[in-house]
């Protein structure tokens, strides 16, 4: 039995500051087995795998490979132990061929023999049933082909333990089927495979066993044969934690937005939004739940006029009673109509604010078009910056202090504050409290609640289900670009939303 175990983790703990990313996690993968690692966003799946692949070093705990205790201090160590990780973002050089990417950085003879390399790759490709031309350039490849290159790269380097981080997130259903066939072939060849995912139907389809993490804690491992969608969901989302966020009752609901069957796709033809229809009301907080990458960002961008729709339309019911079909307007005009979009990106300063400018300059970004003549008017934005600083308690030495140097909470207050200063009638916010500590989060909640009470239709995308359930009036759930349901946040349970989030209907394509 000990012989059969490819890799085992025992009581792995990793802390970032005071936060436990992983708290005494243990798991085990055998040779010739596919283990699914299941958990919500932020449950510590990726951190755990990064410790196996040498990107982080665990604070406590033991890792055993082939029954021997090892210490993995760098990606190189991980390589040498035969561990290969396939990230969500492929690390490939675009102008090179598949074969060149596969041998990149390997030791060997100085002069390359590409013919021999290609033959070796072809042998691997044939053995497992990949679909790959070693001489094809990366930039001509589809996402699925690039993923294939990554997998073959790991195999070529002799990886026996393969870790795939969300491998199906970017694939079409047909490509997923092909990937699973290849994974099964590799399993039958005796390799150990860990697949990180949150798509339950895929877990049930491909894996032999499932290990579940929740908020950094190891919940348990079950045989896939004995698991069902609902039993896994229960383990994944757990019990609801009350956050006690102040939630005023909505009143005076007025229809502000009608979204009719909107769809859009990315450059690869994968549907990011699929026939989504809903209505949003002034005076109401509409939450958007979903596993990351389910189309939340695209939904907000569609309303703000930043996404090209392949189908459907967005109708805006203005306060004066006139209706606008937003498809005829560009993003600047939509902004002008009173639909404000404040997206908090992962790196906060990537979108929306210019880090090296002060608050005044950043206010000016929104208003410079109103100015007449050549010179910008500094006075109004400065007044606005002072006002936001005072009203929202932004802690900054001066309104001219570069926002890059402010803390995350303050940056977020500026971002949200700027959008609400223009008295919007629809406010789109994404991840408003991402990365904030508790007191800053509550300040942001209060800001948004204030807007809601003023009759603004607030649409709020967030990852944290507990927060959505305590903060919103209604929650719409997206899954794979489809709207899987709209629930009343006061009555819905966490399991209900969790199920909707993973309710993948089998594609009939």
């Amino acid at each position: 039995m000990e012989q059969n175990c490819a890799i085992e983790l025992r009581d792995i703990t990793k802390k970032f500051g005071k936060v436990y990313a992983n708290d005494k996690v243990s798991l085990k993968v055998n040779k010739g087995e596919i283990l699914a690692l299941l958990g919500e966003n932020g449950s510590g799946k990726t951190t755990l795998m990064n410790m196996i692949s040498g990107i982080y070093f665990p604070d406590e705990g033991h890792i055993f490979v082939d029954g021997k205790e090892v210490s993995i201090r760098s990606p190189r160590d991980s390589f040498d132990l035969g561990i290969g990780m396939i990230h969500q973002h492929f690390k490939l050089i675009d102008v090179m061929t598949a074969a060149e990417n596969i041998i990149l950085g390997l030791e060997g003879k100085a002069v390359l023999n590409m013919k021999k390399v290609c033959e070796d790759i072809q042998a691997l490709v044939d053995r497992y049933g990949f679909d790959l031309d070693p001489n094809q350039k990366i930039y001509t490849m589809s996402v699925s082909q690039k993923q294939t290159v990554e997998i073959v790269k790991m195999l070529y380097r002799g990886a026996n333990i393969l870790i795939l981080d969300e491998p199906t997130a970017v694939l079409t259903p047909q490509e997923v089927t092909r990937l699973f066939t290849v994974l099964r072939n590799m399993r039958d060849d005796g390799r150990a495979i860990i697949i990180i995912t949150h798509k339950l139907n895929e877990v049930l389809e491909i894996s032999d066993r499932v290990s579940i993490l929740r908020k950094g804690r190891y919940i348990g491992t079950v045989e896939t044969k004995e698991a069902t969608v609902s039993s896994l969901t229960e383990m994944m989302v757990g019990d609801k934690v009350s956050l006690d966020i102040y939630r005023p009752e909505p009143h005076d609901l007025k229809k502000r937005l009608t979204v009719e069957e909107i769809s859009c796709e990315n450059g690869e033809g994968v549907k990011l939004l699929d026939q989504v229809s809903f209505e949003a009301f002034g005076g109401e907080m509409l939450g958007v739940a979903g596993i990351s990458g389910s189309g939340q960002k695209e939904l907000l961008e569609s309303i703000a006029g930043l996404q090209e729709l392949t189908n459907g339309k967005v109708i805006y019911h203005a306060r004066r009673g006139t209706d606008f079909d937003l498809s005829g307007y560009n993003a600047a005009q939509i902004n002008e109509l009173g639909i404000k979009h404040s997206f908090i990106p992962e790196d906060r300063l990537g979108m929306g604010l210019v880090g090296s400018m002060g608050m005044t300059g950043n206010m000016l970004l929104r208003s410079f078009r109103q100015g007449k003549g050549f010179f910008t008017r500094q006075k109004e934005p400065r007044d606005l910056a002072e006002e936001i600083k005072k009203n929202l308690d932004v802690v900054t030495p001066s309104v001219d202090y570069p926002v890059r140097r402010l803390s995350g909470g303050n940056v977020q207050k500026i971002l949200v504050g700027r959008e609400i200063a223009s008295s919007p009638s629809v406010l789109l916010v994404a991840y408003p409290v991402r990365g904030l500590d508790i007191s800053s989060s509550y300040q942001i909640y209060n800001l948004l609640n204030e807007q809601k009470e003023r009759g603004v239709a607030v649409i709020c995308v967030a990852e944290d289900l507990d927060m959505l359930l305590d903060f919103c009036d209604r929650i719409m759930v997206l899954c794979g670009g489809k709207l899987t349901g709209i629930v009343d946040a006061r009555k819905a349970t966490k399991e209900e939303v969790g199920l909707l989030m993973t309710a993948h209907k089998e594609d009939k394509a």
Binding site: L92, D94, V95, L104, L112
Partner: protein
Amino acid sequence: MSVIITFIQKAIVQGICMLFGADGEILTEKSGNLNLGVPGMMYMGGIGGLMAAFFYEKSTDHPNAFAGMVLSFLAAFCLAALGALIYSILTITLRANQNVAGLALTTFGTGLGNFFGGSLSALSGGAGQISVKVIGSAYQAKIPVLSEIPVIGDIFFSYGFLTYFAIIISLAMAFFLKRTRWGLNLNAVGEDPATADAAGINVTLYKYLATVIGGGIAGLGGLYFVMEYTGGTWSNNGFGDRGWLAVALVIFALWNPINAIWGSILFGGLYIIYLYIPGLGRSAQEVFKMLPYLVTIIVLIITSLRKKREHQPPQSLGLAYFREER
């Protein structure tokens, strides 16, 4: 006929200087470093070679031509490489802005060259009085026998050793970049250092080596100018804009050393064509001197219209590499 032969000869003579610069810069840019210090490094190479030759010839009564060549060659390479090393420390280790650091190196190198060039002139009694006869003529020595062949000998074999060395370097570099493991790794560093790093390539080492060696090669362009072109003397600011033409040639050659060979001859020809067109006024001459730059712009337009990825500059060119936090 003889005018055409002379023109071709002169075009090649003009081009070799740029070819060294372009080869060095191609190697540098393949690592993702945009070193705009090429003109400066060429000055440094030139003055380094000249000083070594000058003091060697002064130090003995019977200077050995071969020893003098080796000394001046090494001095030129090392001084220019030193310039590139300063640039590397600034941009790779300290992550300073590459454009600023490169332009500063150009200013520095030009000043250094002119300062010591002026001093050497003063030592030897006035401007244009520097003489390193033995070594200068050794650099200028043509290939015996072969250069005697009419026409063919004139076009192909009537140059000094540095001319052939430039061609050999270009061919060797093309082979290095396309066919060797290190070349592949270097390409990866210039395209996407994060990916190269993840693949286990020592990004910093590759960047340093490529930039320093590239700088040294560019410096040989200066040596060529001082020794073979002018025969071993110095005139302040004598290089003109050849250093910048070398940078333009890199773009024209689409980062391929083989293209740089014929490109340099074309550039050299365009650079002096005004001398061969009768009846040009002073201002018209200047217009003709713009031709190489004009050709570069046209090539840029055509390649960006064709959108072929292989013809684009290395993707991370000009960007400092920060390893992600671990």
